[in-house]
Symmetry: C2
């Protein structure tokens, strides 16, 4: 497996994309906000959706479609309107939009799905989308990966793309992907759209298993502000155009890599994030405890502001372990900042270490290891700090 | 029951206080940070402590003392050092300090308890405390309530005090209290110290029941940043000096009132808070759901920044209901901003209402009602917005 420089969703064989500025949000900023991803032959689809009980209209539509069909030809994504909490009008909007694309593409009923991200509770401006259908279909091209990645962005500051080439005895195939995230990234993903494409040839059930495994260790292991949106979606599309039937372990590894790298890019571009923080919980009493403890630390505003302030205040870490409610004994807890053993048996090893720890806190990437010494279970999660910019972005989001 | 203007912990009969600037934190700011509260006759004590599994040394000491004794004469509180995660030295520090006060007061072994708030994991400077013992004892006076309230503050911007007079057929008694809070206020309280005094005459078990009831609806119904400290403590002290044996319901009502008003003061003075927000969840399917949903909304950084930004973005509220995992059906949810019916059956009643809702969001105090229409259970919690100042305070706390 090797990284392909400059790869994106159109790097695997047969995928074409196009994007336009449709002014979906109505702020006339001229940003491309409507994009189409099409495969020359239908792709098999695996999907993971938000666990939020309130789901946006495009998700309701896709979930229903997946009950009877696993092959599709295109997806259309807008980044100006969540089309969530929009009632019957929202569902009708999706129907009208996908029908317009199905007609123009000639791919038949039920062949197009939709993704949306943006403000919740605002009526979807259907006409702005349908009036762009012809232009989007006409401009489909395999050189448009980067435009696709840019068009799905909201508060993201950089497009997020990756692709890998997987060599096999019978030839090579590609797994590539793009994502948008920034805020609201949390367990079970949040306001996060991710589209992974491959030209490997693989059945629907295997594809879904691979995606489920990959999401658990990537998008479900990152957190920015512990919120979970109505619109989160990860799609894994496989159109088989390479003709390669992949070894399942090798394919899993490639999808894991793509998903994890994309997830890390989301954290690095978290709203207002200035630091990338890895929280490793070791030797918890159970898998559930390891996860609960790691996320409690990664989500604590006090811990996150401590990273922003570059303050090696380990007391906030140990207090959060206690607050998380997992099985823990103060006198057993060890803490490392990167490779620096800082706390042993619940107390600081030497107060002079604070200077070294303070130096580590100045880095852009920091790894904190909490060893509970209670059992054998571990969990690693990725998060970012909590900055004044986070508050600015979210206080002023709609203005 | 009537409010007593200017009341504090020394308003009930027999309570005296004193405070000094002992430079516990070592930043030489000259703030009074060490304070003594003493009762002329021993008081019966009821107490509630943090549920954090990591507890500060003074709490371990008090919990142990309460196993065999319910009567004490004094409490000493410092606001410069949490004395948490300080190991054996921390416990020995408490022993040394309380013994010094017991000797100077002449109240005997086991008669003094301690409270602490400040940075975790820093050694307690015992000498700075013991060298102030004589001065503190000499200066005890019933005119020092306000000094006591000020001396327990950390990032609080104002002292928090209240007192009520309760009239009975046999005469009157007083319930008064003070608290410090500001950050880390969450379910089960957090870096929160609260001292409630009364001169009513009441047994230890009744006193503890009254306190448990009061805390559930006050300190455990507020949240600032969902963190829970190692030091949280609520004490209810009853020295019986009024001679009045209170009617238990009337006494409960008075303690509830004092606790709730103090809890609200904490939220209003939340770190960086600019708004006081009441979240009312109605008609949940269970008591647990009502609580979970109300706290999920009150703790969501996206919701809290929305209040800071004065943006009536009800979509974030409904998305958080969904993310909370409680039994909810999108099409049944109604939302009011103060008295304004804004969302009905999961969608906005009229987009023109946004202007009215925006006006409500400009107020200093806002009440949000979420009606789930799923059952009969409700919960009200109090919170504040999330501002740039919150991040500043917590990023720079130790500097």
């Amino acid at each position: 497996m090797q990284n392909i420089k400059g790869a994106g969703v159109c790097t695997p064989l047969g995928y074409l994309a196009s994007s336009v500025a449709a002014d979906i949000k109505g702020n006339k900023k001229g940003k491309k906000d409507l994009t189409l991803l099409y495969s020359e032959v239908p792709f098999t689809l695996a999907a993971v959706f938000t666990k939020n009980t309130i789901k946006a209209a495009p998700l309701k539509h896709a979930i229903k479609a997946l009950e009877t069909n696993r092959e599709f030809s295109a997806i259309v994504v807008n980044s100006g309107n969540a089309n969530a909490s929009t009632g019957k009008q929202g569902l009708e909007a999706v129907d009208t939009i996908v029908k317009a694309f199905e007609d123009e593409l000639g791919t038949g009923e039920g062949s197009v799905l939709m993704g949306s991200t943006g403000t919740i509770g605002v009526k979807m401006p259907v006409e702005k989308v349908t009036s762009s259908v012809k232009e989007l279909v006409d401009e489909l091209d395999d050189a448009n990966s980067h435009d696709f990645a840019a068009a799905i962005m909201t508060t993201d500051t950089v497009p997020k793309e990756i692709g890998v080439l997987v060599e096999t005895p019978n030839g090579a195939y590609v797994v590539a992907g793009t994502t948008k995230g920034a805020g609201m990234i949390a367990p079970h993903m949040a306001t996060m759209l991710c589209y992974i494409t491959t030209d490997a040839l693989i059945g629907a059930d295997n594809l879904q298993n691979v995606l489920n495994n990959a999401v658990g260790e990537s998008f479900n292991s990152i957190t920015i502000d512990n919120d979970m949106s109505t619109n989160d979606t990860v799609f894994l599309m496989a159109n088989g155009m390479s003709g390669i039937i992949p070894d399942i372990d090798q394919f899993q590894e490639a999808v894991n890599h793509v998903a994890l790298e994309l997830a890390k890019m989301i954290v690095k571009d978290g709203e207002g994030a200035t630091k990338f923080v890895t929280i490793k919980v070791k030797n918890a009493q159970s898998e559930a405890d390891a996860k609960k403890c790691a996320f409690a630390i990664a989500n604590s505003p006090l811990v996150k502001t401590m990273f922003y302030g570059e303050d090696p205040n380990w007391g906030r870490l140990i207090a959060t372990v206690g607050a998380s409610g997992v099985a823990a004994v103060e006198e057993k807890i060890d803490i490392c900042f990167d490779d620096l053993a800082y706390v042993k048996d619940g107390i600081i090893i030497d107060e002079k270490l604070e200077e070294k720890a303070a130096k580590i806190m100045k880095n852009d990437e920091i790894e904190i290891t909490i060893d509970l010494n209670m059992g054998t279970f571990g969990k690693t999660v990725y998060t970012c700090d909590f900055s004044k910019e986070y508050v600015s972005i979210n206080a002023d989001y709609r203005t």
